[in-house]
């Protein structure tokens, strides 16, 4: 391949550029490590719900650590807010803190930015930026992520961009106010210290790097790297066909009687430019799932990077060819004082919507829908005298690709999170986990099947435990592609397998209270399938039976594969006959076999499909 090298600055060459790009990446990773190793709360240190970045003097990202991808695309708006407020009033030794979505380009109140401007000889050369999901910023519910808040004022302490350190001197007022506005002051302070330490580390390393080239040359190099990223992005877009495509998906909705909320994307490709338009998405709601625009833009940036064939550098110049439209007053760009603490559900769904659209443009690069994004539960109560909050991040069921089954047990592409060790949760909190694993007979059938659902069940050991959570994908199942079935629905069940078993809404509009000894089971959505299930290689079905991912009965009714004996072996003749019969006969479209098997194991008999992938219970 020959490449065109339109580098404009006379003093910049492609070798220096590569060296600087690497060096910046190393600094951002170093920041991420400092936070991981010194943070206190489990959501930060074990789930790794945080991000680090290096920005140039304009606030544009030039490097980011390997952390939460969905955070990163919102740095530009946040940095713009900081520069708007303090552009001519920053000094060496300053550090800034904020979290407000409306005045600060933030996402939701728990996501706290701490940013340090970096100076060389008194000249601003860039920023060390960190974003950490803080465990509790006050507000109506522990964890500050209640779905049921109706105004942002209920969600915790709003911090516009303010000084955390003033020329090296800590802002005591802020620290004192903050300590009185959180349920877990010691962990919050520890996690903020981790952010501060990371910024200081990066400050020193960035100064060393820039000193090697001198400020003016470093700026030229950075600008060339932005242009380089832009060139790669344009080349990617140009390799796609011109045209316009749309896709609509739904969030199940809120509370006991959920009403679907539409999310619609229209993608237009015109040469080297791409427009991503969210017009047609639902108006903002009186609950906390409204998603501030920075997070939705972030989802767009993320998916465009995912579908690119070549790695797009972490230089923000790559977004120049993108035009993102987010209509005001909708769930993808709410206006104040809309609540937004649980906004991530819209962010995760934005990923599914975008992928559903790109599946029409580049079908071989996109999987069917997965579990619907990370489910965040927050358990809280008292362990003896001591208050506890346990926030977790659950994920791990992907839709199928055109040539592979959906991946089981890896995180959603939006956030490279980890699960929390069962033993750690049990050692630290009055919670017992009674199972964590795969749900058999689950996921969407297809020539390539979606990943099975995962399940995690808790027994509550303290007198009373409150749970705040949001999940999704019970009514609108994860979509399949190319004739593959939709995935299986997500369920939240109290006291499974007992007389008192009951279902909890996907997004309860109040805290759910459990008494000692009660149990809670979360079953995730299972991934969507790809291609016709009757085209699935019989060998792959036999393998699923042998590995106990599905039963022989399920294999017969869903895939038309007849297995006999133990270990299961294929009866090829009977399989051919059965598959012919299944191809010619009409199937039950309201209660398909795979959903019957799936629900039977959960003790749920009332369900029916009312559309291609809409389920009523």
């Amino acid at each position: 391949m020959t490449a065109e090298i339109p580098i404009t600055a006379a003093n910049v060459d492609p070798i220096t550029m590569e060296v600087v790009q690497n060096a910046l990446g190393a600094i951002a990773d170093e920041m991420a490590l400092v936070i991981m190793r010194t943070a206190y709360s489990t959501i930060v240190r074990d789930s790794m719900d945080y991000s680090t970045g290096i920005c140039d003097r304009e606030g544009w990202i030039v490097a980011h650590g390997m952390t939460m991808a969905l955070h990163l695309g919102s740095f530009p708006d946040a940095m713009e807010a900081l520069i708007r407020d303090y552009g001519d009033d920053m000094h060496p030794g300053d550090m800034f803190v904020w979290n407000d979505p409306y005045s600060g380009g933030g996402q939701h109140l728990p996501d706290v930015y701490i940013v340090k401007p970096v100076f060389i000889d008194g000249e601003l050369e860039g920023f060390a930026a960190s974003l950490v999901h803080q465990i509790d910023m006050g507000g109506i519910a522990p964890g500050s992520a209640a779905v049921y808040a109706t105004e942002i004022f209920q969600e915790g302490l709003r911090i516009p961009p303010i000084r955390l350190y003033d020329r090296g001197k800590p802002n005591e007022t802020f620290f004192k106010v903050m300590a009185k506005n959180t349920r877990i002051p010691d962990k919050l302070a520890g996690d903020m210290r981790a952010q501060v330490a990371a910024c200081r580390t990066a400050d020193a390393a960035l100064c060393d790097l820039i000193a090697r080239y001198g400020g003016p040359e470093y700026r030229d190099i950075v600008e060339e790297l932005h242009s380089h990223a832009e060139r790669i992005m344009r080349a990617e877009i140009s390799s796609l066909p011109d045209g316009t495509w749309s896709f609509t998906d739904y969030i199940d909705g809120l509370g006991e009687k959920p009403e679907p909320l539409a999310m619609k994307i229209t993608v237009t490709i015109d040469g080297g430019d791409m427009t991503l338009d969210w017009t047609g998405s639902a108006p903002q709601v009186n609950a906390a799932i409204n998603c501030p625009a920075p997070f939705v833009k972030s989802a767009c940036h993320l998916i465009v990077k995912c579908i690119a064939e070549e790695e797009i550098p972490n230089f923000e110049g790559f977004i120049r060819p993108l035009n993102i439209i987010v209509p005001e007053g909708t769930i993808v760009n709410p206006t104040p004082p809309a609540a937004c603490a649980a906004r991530a559900i819209v962010g995760w769904r934005a990923l599914d919507v975008l992928l559903g659209c790109f599946a029409q443009i580049v079908p071989d690069r996109v999987p069917a829908a997965g579990e619907g994004g990370v489910t965040f539960p927050s358990f809280s109560g008292y362990d003896g005298e001591e208050r506890f909050v346990c926030t977790e991040a659950w994920a791990g069921s992907w839709g199928a690709m055109h040539n592979a089954d959906g991946a089981f047990g890896i995180p959603n592409p939006g956030g490279n999170l980890t699960n929390q060790p069962v033993e750690m949760v049990e050692a630290l909190f009055p919670l017992e986990i009674t199972r964590y694993g795969m749900v058999e007979n689950s996921g969407g059938p297809g020539e390539f099947r979606g990943a099975p659902a995962y399940q995690r069940e808790y027994r509550f050991l303290s007198e009373e435990t409150q749970m705040v959570m949001r999940s999704d994908r019970r009514r609108f199942l994860p979509y399949g592609l190319n004739g593959g079935n939709p995935g299986t629905p997500s369920w939240n069940l109290r006291n499974t397998g007992t007389d008192t078993q009951s279902a909890i809404p996907v997004m309860p509009m109040e805290a759910v209270v459990f008494q000692q000894g009660e149990t809670f089971l979360h079953v995730s959505g299972g991934g969507g399938g790809h291609g016709n299930p009757l085209d699935r290689a019989p060998k792959a079905v036999i393998d699923d039976i042998r590995e106990e991912r599905c039963t022989a009965e399920y294999a017969g009714e869903v895939y038309g594969v007849v297995a006999t004996g133990e270990p299961a072996t294929l009866d090829a003749e009977a399989t051919n006959l059965l598959r012919r019969k299944m191809t010619s006969e009409p199937t039950d479209t309201t209660r398909p076999a795979y959903l019957r098997h799936f629900h039977k194991a959960l003790g749920i008999s009332e369900f029916r499909l009312v559309g291609p992938r809409e389920m009523k219970v």
Partner: protein, 691 residues
């Protein structure tokens, strides 16, 4: 006279170093025999002994570094293994910690679990986090699991129950049942034996790896022993562990998971021993990767955050999920995909990339003339004049410099519209820049300033890049040990018998007393005495150090510090102070008001042996004639007619530019650097402006 033999098996070559009791060294590179490693080792050893006129029974001890364990995992050729878990948790092994080592990817392929789902059986039992039994062990479920696994013909069984680190009773009883039902040949590993620490995925995965490797390594060691016996070498064989200590092959056959990073560990040990009081960052650049590690005050740095089979380990939990978690002590090595065979290319936006794809040993770089078409790092180094086209591996490997130049010109220089030499210099710069990241991962990432360290470089290509990497990091000292190309085999000979054992001990120091901790250590010491006795040592033979993994209450990651005692019992004040200092040094701050929590207690027992001073190495190839050649040192220096010398010529210090050519490596001394020999035979490079 007596000899010690160091034998390091690599993918292409097996390196052999013999050290006579007076310190004289003999080094050779043998071809590896992958069908039966023992045969190649025995044949090569017999030939080498004949060359130097020694008898088989002159060999005192053999120390062995091996990639057999790693390769069994990489190639999925371990034993058929079953796993028995607590009911409800058999998928822990497959779910892992979710995280993957890449971002922005939609088709990442997860490594398949080493034990497939049907071989993961569940039993009814549950222990709580404080060791309390919540559900008693239902032995009928264990029997059912065994019967199923026996039907499936597994050769090894891993047993990993929740919270067994706090109470191993259920696992121990289950192991008895497995033995009863499945017979004496099945290899059994309990998680409470191999890794009694909290975090179920890491513990289960480690247990499974041990079981998966057990039958393979047992057979391998038996075969090696047979082959050695057949050539009359009866010397005991020791094998290097991932943490740099050695153990007998008898002990290693029970705990093969300790051997997974056996190969790379030896070089770091060599560096630590050769510069025992020094601060060194080691850099081992071979054909596909470069590995860095830190030696501080003669002490190596270890970690428990490790994955096997992840390809490239950047010494950090940021890039995790690519392999299988193995939470046993490993020398903390950061690896990056830049080696001699790393392929040079241009990305879509026109930036120059070096690696991580590698041409490997086959086809190898273009200049090897074995069909390689993509230019590599080695082709660029040859084009710059760094390498002698007729003199790699002592002349065994002839290089085609014209082919290297043509490939580099066509694929890199012409599209970039640059002069060939500038392009080659660019490749060198980018590769060095990439390796800087590995060096930073073991230094600045831990709060250490590389300028306080010397760069200790070895491996076939380490001495080629060392000075330039030092330039980039503003380091002023570089050390190139003798026989740098077979340095790992040499390092094996400098290792000590060493064992580390640990035990979970999760307590806030404010809630316990020093005698409590002392009791826990004493229990471990009893265990250690038994372990060392099984290796044939009495307490008089070895020294035992106590260490503790501490953190501020609520943190997830610990730092390991020495546990100092006041009288008999640990001194908590000094322990807390030592932890605070280490936290400050590593992370730049400490939190004096925070409670300090102990997570794990460790003991390290080390047998220190007397070793002769080293003498200059011999090898089986005579020296070639050396003539000056034209070398391009970048735009700042341009073309320089550069003298080519051998190591002994440095007995009088000389200024760069210089090239020191040896049997197994080439050392580049750029302009501005000065080279000298130290009393140990190391080449020491110092940067001119530092004096």
């Amino acid at each position: 006279m007596k000899y010690r033999a160091g034998i390091d098996i690599g993918g292409t070559f097996t390196d052999l170093v013999l050290m006579r009791e007076d310190g004289a060294l003999h080094a050779e590179k043998l071809l590896t025999t992958p069908d039966d490693f023992g045969r190649g080792i025995a044949d090569g050893l017999a030939a080498a002994l004949a060359t130097i006129g020694a008898a088989p029974d002159d060999v005192d001890v053999i120390v062995h570094g091996t990639t057999v364990a790693t390769n069994a995992i990489l190639e999925a050729k371990g034993a058929r293994t079953g796993l028995i878990t607590t009911a409800g948790f058999r998928d822990v092994l497959e779910l892992r910690r979710l995280r993957i080592p890449e971002m922005y990817t939609l088709n990442w392929t997860k490594p398949p679990p080493l034990v497939p789902r049907r071989l993961r059986r569940e039993v009814t039992e549950k222990t709580g986090p404080r060791g309390e039994v919540r559900i008693p062990l239902d032995e009928t479920t264990v029997i059912a699991a065994c019967e199923r696994l026996a039907r499936e013909n597994v050769a090894a069984v891993a047993i990993a129950y929740l919270h067994s680190y706090a109470n191993p009773d259920h696992e121990k009883r289950s192991a008895e049942i497995v033995r009863d039902i499945m017979g004496p040949d099945v290899f059994i590993t309990c998680s409470s034996d191999i890794l009694p620490e909290i975090r179920e995925y890491e513990r289960t995965s480690t247990t499974v790896i041990n079981a998966y490797l057990g039958p393979i390594l047992t057979a391998y060691f038996a075969s090696l022993r047979r082959h050695l016996d057949s050539i009359g070498v009866a010397a005991p064989v020791r094998v290097m562990k991932s943490d740099g200590g050695v153990m007998s092959i008898g002990a290693a056959a029970d705990k093969p998971a300790y051997l997974v990073e056996s190969g790379p560990a030896a070089g770091v040990i060599g560096a630590a021993r050769l510069a025992a009081d020094g601060n060194n960052i080691t850099l081992d650049m071979g054909g596909t990767t470069a590995k860095a590690s830190m030696v501080e005050g003669g002490r190596i740095s270890r970690t428990g955050d490790y994955e096997v089979g992840a390809g490239i380990n950047l010494s950090s939990k940021l890039v995790m999920g690519g392999g299988y978690a193995l939470k046993l002590p490993v020398i903390d090595i950061s690896e990056i995909g830049a080696g001699g065979g790393s392929i040079v290319s241009l990305d879509r936006g026109g930036l120059l990339k070096v690696g991580p794809e590698s041409a490997g040993a086959l086809p190898g770089p273009v200049c090897y003339g074995r069909g390689g078409e993509d230019p590599t790092f080695t082709d660029s180094a040859l084009t710059l004049g760094f390498l002698n086209p007729g003199y790699l591996v002592g002349g065994d490997l002839k290089l085609d410099a014209d082919a290297a130049r043509d490939a580099l010109q066509a694929i890199i220089a012409t599209p970039l519209d640059r002069d060939l030499l500038d392009a080659a210099w660019g490749v060198f710069q980018v590769a060095c820049g990439t390796m800087v990241r590995a060096v930073k991962a073991v230094s600045t990432y831990r709060g250490r300033d590389p300028r306080d360290f010397a760069l200790f470089a070895f491996g076939g290509n380490g001495p080629v890049v060392a000075a330039e990497i030092a330039n980039l990091l503003d380091m002023t000292r570089v050390i190139i040990p003798p026989t740098p190309g077979v340095f790992s085999a040499y390092g094996l000979l400098l290792s000590d018998v060493e064992h580390e054992i640990s035990r979970a001990w999760l307590n806030r120091l404010s809630g316990v007393s020093p005698p409590d901790m002392d009791d826990a250590y004493r229990t471990l010491e009893t265990e250690m005495t038994a372990l060392m006795a099984s290796e044939g040592y009495t307490p008089a033979d070895y020294a035992v150090a106590r260490l503790a993994d501490l953190r501020y209450a609520g943190q997830a990651h610990e730092l390991t510090v020495d546990c100092v005692s006041a009288g008999d019992a640990p001194d908590f004040d000094r322990l807390i102070a030592a932890f605070g200092d280490e936290h400050e040094r590593t992370y730049g701050h400490q939190a004096e008001a925070e409670a300090v929590e102990c997570v794990t207690l460790r003991l390290i027992a080390r047998v220190t042996e007397e070793r002769p001073d080293r003498q200059v190495a011999s090898s089986r190839v005579a020296d070639n004639e050396r003539t000056p050649r034209d070398v391009y040192f970048g735009p700042a220096h341009g073309h320089v007619e550069t003298p080519v010398i051998d190591r002994p010529s440095l007995s009088a210090p000389q200024d760069g530019p210089l090239i020191v050519e040896e049997y197994d490596s080439t050392c580049i001394v750029p302009p501005g650097w000065r080279a000298a020999l130290d009393p140990l035979g190391n080449i020491v490079l110092t940067r001119g402006n530092s004096q």
